[in-house]
């Protein structure tokens, strides 16, 4: 049952073949059996999930009209505020904090009767590409437990790949949904910036952060996308327009006559051979499905990484200032005679991990008087250039594509002491955040050299999210018929799953 897609589970719930309580319990059992190895969850809300499931079952028994995913369980990235449930963002500084309010995403999940199983592990405050930066220990990739599951949303993607949940919520600032999806053989979507409310998403970089759906199929992602998206007056940067029809697009999967632009700069040197092979293969399948493949150039993408590592740290240095030991969270050094300032200094020393400190300091520098124009100001200009590159490319193609990441999952610890090497993971995903457009990663197979999953990235213009779902669904269908079974069937069996 737990290996079904969310859509299949929903159908069984509607048909009365299974109850939400049973489905939820099955996932809780799975978590109990495999999560000691995977460590995808930071908190499992057994009681809350079962209570929510029972409530959905009761509504269904009364014949109430329910939303498409009602009763299906989900794993929530620990960066989303959920009322009364510990929300740590993978950081010591928030250990034990229980928000007195729900994020809009959580409110939407509850409104749609989607059952929240618990909170998933992540790089501290979403800064990282491996979940190794979690203060609570790394998450392990179900394909190979010695490897990283990607980051920052490695907990969510690993939970999907280990069949601990059929759906998950991620957030993506520079690739934190898509890169984990790529390295775990799952689907992850970063919607258009402003498509999903940021209210209650603990901010890393406000102008880049975007929550989105994670799933094992394109259709499941679309169903979750429609459940969480939409205008929110509590988020001033939320787009006041109808949600793109992504479910319809995922169901049709029609790419006939679509122009698919291959971004020249997001391929080639630095990309693993197996990653490139799977990418080429996917292009052929899309061409066979009736799409026209064209090449486009985005000359300024080579500056995206540098600009990102100025903009994101700058915003984070300010966003994370609120963690000061005064109103909530950790407090260190509050001894007789201590000053508020020294308590702040000591708490932030102990409460933040190394990567978070690194970025706060970098951002503080980039914004400081005398350096602002050279760093933050220049990075903002690069942002304009990248957006122009996208505008030009989208004039020639309906969607753009690239490998999601240059490599497959690396070993835990392999890049932990080389921040620049770590940052390179996001080289193909970052431009999407800079321009605020949509991006999806879906599995394109396994790399020949290491047998690990490879991701295929599809990018669509602002509020044209349905396009990436059409292309994703078409590619998924072509790959499925080629493989004969979902890719995750090739992953090692864990915990004696059926």
């Amino acid at each position: 049952m737990i290996r079904s897609t969310a859509a299949e589970m929903a159908a069984k719930l509607v048909a009365g073949e299974v109850t939400s309580v049973a489905l939820t319990q099955a996932h809780l059992d799975r978590i109990a059996s495999v999560d000691s190895d995977v460590h995808a969850f930071l908190y499992v809300d057994t009681e809350g999930a079962l209570a929510q499931a029972a409530a959905v079952d009761a509504k269904r028994a009364k014949g109430e009209k329910l939303s498409p995913l009602a009763g299906v369980p989900l794993a929530l990235k620990d960066v989303m505020a959920q009322k009364g449930i510990p929300t740590t963002c993978g950081s010591k500084i928030l250990e034990g904090w229980r928000p007195p309010y729900d994020s809009t995403v959580v409110a939407n999940l509850k409104k749609n009767d989607i059952v929240i199983l618990g909170k998933t592990n992540m790089d501290e405050f979403a800064m990282g590409s491996s979940t190794e930066n979690s203060a609570y220990g790394p998450t392990h990739n179900p394909w190979d437990l010695t490897r990283i599951p990607g980051g920052s949303g490695g907990g969510s993607s690993a939970a999907l790949a280990a069949f601990e949940a059929p759906l998950a919520i991620g957030t993506d600032t520079g690739g934190s949904i898509r890169q984990p999806a790529a390295v775990t053989g799952t689907v992850g979507v970063k919607p258009t910036y402003g498509g999903v409310s940021r209210y209650g998403l603990v901010a890393f970089s406000s102008s880049l952060d975007q929550a989105g759906p994670c799933a094992r199929t394109v259709l499941d992602a679309a169903l979750l996308h429609e459940a969480i998206a939409g205008h929110d007056p509590k988020d001033s940067t939320s787009i006041n327009a109808p949600v793109p029809q992504v479910v319809a697009a995922a169901k049709s999967g029609d790419v006939k006559g679509m122009k698919i632009g291959v971004v020249k700069e997001l391929n080639g040197d630095g990309y693993q051979a197996g990653v490139r092979a799977r990418f080429e293969e996917s292009l052929e399948l899309l061409a066979k499905a009736g799409a026209e493949i064209v090449e486009v150039s985005a000359p300024n993408f080579e500056y995206a990484l540098a600009a990102y590592y100025l903009i994101a740290p700058s915003e984070c240095s300010s966003n994370l200032a609120r963690f000061d030991a005064m109103r909530y969270g950790l407090r260190v050094g509050d001894v007789d005679g201590a000053s508020a300032e020294s308590v702040m200094n000591l708490t932030r020393e102990v409460g933040f991990g190394k990567e978070v400190k690194r970025r706060i300091i970098l951002g503080t520098y980039a914004l400081s008087s005398g350096y602002y124009d050279a760093y933050y100001g220049s990075a903002q200009k690069v942002r304009t250039l990248i957006t122009q590159d996208f505008t030009n490319a989208f004039a020639k193609a309906d969607v753009l594509v690239s490998p999601t990441c240059p490599t497959t999952a690396f070993k835990i610890g392999e890049k932990a002491n080389d921040p620049l090497a770590m940052y390179l993971n996001d080289i193909a995903t970052i431009p999407v955040n800079m321009a605020g457009i949509g991006g999806m990663s879906l599995p394109s197979g396994l790399a020949d050299e290491d047998g690990l999953p490879v991701g295929f990235q599809i990018m669509s213009p602002v509020m044209k999210d349905e396009r990436m779902y059409s292309v994703g669904a078409a590619l998924e269908a072509a790959l499925l018929s080629k493989w004969g079974a979902p890719l995750l069937d090739k992953a090692p069996i864990m915990g004696g799953a059926k």
Binding site: P100, A321, L362, A374, Q380, G436, V462
Partner: protein, 98 residues
């Protein structure tokens, strides 16, 4: 070309309210020299004629009506407080201006 001395890092850590050991200050100073060289590349293309983009969406004038909505209860507001007294957040002595 770009570099940050140990003292620069110490000053930034002060601004950011993060206590740092001597070893950390030195380590960050070495790292930042490398990182700053990498990120300084943005200056290569950031000409005076290029506009800055601070936000991905061209939204303007997003307002809310001046209507009072219910606040948290004081219990909720103070629920995360490391220390409280008289329905207020209790914090260590504040040095500085009045």
């Amino acid at each position: 070309m770009s570099s940050l001395s140990r003292d620069d890092v110490a000053k930034l850590a002060g601004l950011a309210r993060i206590e740092m050991s001597e070893a950390e200050l030195v380590a960050f100073s070495n790292e930042f020299t490398v990182i700053l060289d990498a990120v300084a590349r943005v200056q290569e293309v950031a000409g005076a004629d290029v506009e800055a983009t601070s936000h991905p969406l061209p939204l303007r004038n997003v307002f809310r009506k001046d209507v009072v909505v219910p606040s948290l209860t004081p219990e909720e507001a103070l629920s995360g407080a490391p220390a409280q007294e008289e329905q207020r957040f209790r914090v260590p002595q504040i040095l500085g201006e009045e």
